[in-house]
Amino acid sequence: MEDSQERIGVQNGLLRVVDALPGLVWTALPDGYVDFLNQRWCEYTGLGVEEAYGQGWQTAIHPEDLPELLERWQSILASGEPREMEARLRRFDGEYRWFLFRTCPLADASGRVVKWCGMNTAIDDRRRAEALLAGEKRLLEMIATGKSLSTTLTELCLLVEELCPGCVSCSILLLDLETKKLWLGASPSVPKAYTESIDGFAIGPDASSCGAAAYHGKQIITSDIATDPRWAESRDLALANGLRACWSTPIFSQQNRVLGTFAMFSGKPGNPTTNDQEVIAQITHLASIAIERSRVEENLRRSKAYLSEAQKLSLTGSFGWNVSADEHFWSDETFRIFEYDVSTKVTLQLILERAHPQDIPLIRQAIALAADGRDFDYECRFIMPGGAVKHLHLVAHGTRDQDGRLECIGAVQDVTERRLSEETLGKVRSELAHVARITSLGALTASIAHEVNQPLSGIITNASTCLRMLAADPPNVSGALKTARRTIRDGNRAAEVITRLRALFARTGATTETVDLNEATREVIALSWSEFQRSRVILRSELANDLPPVTGDRVQLQQVILNLLLNASDAMSGVDDRPRQLVIRTERDKCDHVRLTVQDAGIGVEPQGVDKLFEAFYTTKSSGMGIGLSVSRSIIESHHGRLWAAPNDGPGATFSFSIPRGPEGVTGANSFGAIRKPAVTDAVRVMRNP
């Protein structure tokens, strides 16, 4: 008895302990009938012991979880093994939380199960964290794979609704910065009647919760829509749709600009729990990523579309060549210009395949420059599969990428139209110049003829009169004398005309200055560069570094250089089977002379005909007057130098002049004689109208 008393005492003590345990503890009979629940269990669920006994506890289980839980409970009972199960348990205030149900059988000496003990542990935080993590992962995947913004935001809302039991629905609104209006981003569970009414409403200090949150840039908690003055306008509609509390939080960009708002609605008045706030923080962060990413992509897509349109319009393509990695990038327009399919793998060979045979050396030069990290600016011809010739202007800039690897970035523009019209224009211009020359020459001839014919006419008339007067019988001697004097006068007049003409055409004297022949040459090259490009001449200059200056007339010397260069270019105009290579070289020559050489790969000169080249009015060109070289020689000779020509070993000819370095200077203007003015005119003509 004493023993039994003691046992009861121990049992009561144990029961008190069990009641006081911070866990929810219960026991059940072998068939699953719950015969004990500790005090903590009853307090937590708000159920009385009598209510919960037997099957009564099941009313505290979330209806969605109950069937699975019961099934599992039956299998545990059948197994007789300690097992676990999970389900949501309703708290006294109606909020469900996840619990782990641990069960353990008690057996008698024979091993028969006589009782089941159980303890429920809250695992809500873990479950929530897991769900949030899984949700985040899913959402980040959606963002990364470029799912539409509305799909991603809808998923976000659904996740929140799953994670926050107190939230009946939520919405994400997007802010249009220009109009300061909020537009619906996602609101899968908010009644349509309500969402339609709020789509596109203006933000403001008191514009419900979301409008105010966006306006102030801070969280706005409306714990009761029924009483909050901010809700004056949409109150009725919100209440009619079962929305009672609204907690709205701004979504910020990385630069801290408001992108939109995230709102949680509750069916009851109240404030968000700590858990809710944690979820809100996480969700607004995810929403910010999704919205920013989508905007960046939208901008990128738009600017790509603009760029592509602009490239199409301007017939300009862009390209990049990572030289070290030999990786190429071509814009769509570049593919279009070269007439390749955009799926073609880009290699340098693609460019060379389209190249005009004559321009291949030029293109190889451009590639070599690019490979060397240098800039280039070339115009080359390419032949398209249909046989059409395209003139393409290629400009590129050498640079280094983030890893310091050499990169060539450039643009290619189709200038065929422009080139063709320029060529047409050039032809018209040269015809015009030709006509103008003929016309002015004609006018000049007429004017000279008039000036000379007048006195000649007088001479002949007077002489005729004189003869008649002398032949008369008797001779009219005084009349004859008068007319003879007139004859002399008219003769003098004619001579005066000639003198006047010479004075008119005499040129001003040559100037004498110190001339850096290299610099003078560079200027001429710069002047005629486009002409060489147009004529597809590859010009190489080899100018000696230590060239002493010469004394002379800079402009005259430049006329000679230009004349030699343009003659060389003209000599190669018919050359199509080899590069139109032109080399201009300056160097010291023997006896304190400086020599300039122009070597072409053109039609060449006959060795025996070389001297004839320098005769005035001798020309091999259909368009030339044959004055250029004769003038050039007279200019060089006036500089005490020598100008000569020689055939090359290979194709083409070489023209050179050699003049002494200072300080003698040029002989006076008289040495040019009367041809000097036309000579200069011709040189100018060569310059203007090669």
């Binding site: 007429a446 000649l456 006419s457 007088g458 001479i459 009169t465 007139r486 006068r489």
Partner: protein, 123 residues
């Protein structure tokens, strides 16, 4: 006595006005020289002029201008043009307009005499 036919010379060049009348007088014509078309039009010689030796290029009214003016005034005077400009295209133009001849300076006395004889036959 046969009254010599009047030949009028219109030329802005003084040496022509000096030398040509002397030669024409040697041929036996009466001559009047004028330095401009206007001077000729203002004179009272128009009606008597049997032949007009007319320079083409003159300041103010040119030879062809005077030719047109005379046509308008129904003064059908045979015209022998003379010109120092070597422009060959002018000759057919003035001949088409009714000129008897167009002589390029310097011209021989034979050419001049032939032209005058043709002109006087016309008139």
């Amino acid at each position: 006595m046969v009254i010599p036919s009047l030949v009028s010379v219109v030329d802005d060049d003084e040496s022509v006005r000096e030398s040509l009348p002397d030669l024409l007088k040697e041929f036996g014509f009466a001559v009047q020289a004028f330095s401009s078309a206007k001077e000729f039009l203002a004179s009272d010689c128009i009606g008597q002029t049997r032949c007009l030796v007319l320079d083409i290029a003159m300041p103010g009214m040119s030879g062809p201008d005077l030719q047109r003016e005379l046509t308008l005034r129904r003064q059908e005077i045979p015209i022998v043009f003379i010109t120092a400009q070597g422009d060959e295209t002018v000759r057919p133009r003035v001949l088409e307009q009714g000129a008897v001849e167009c002589l390029f300076k310097p011209f021989s006395e034979t050419a001049l005499l032939d032209a005058l004889n043709t002109a006087l036959r016309v008139s």
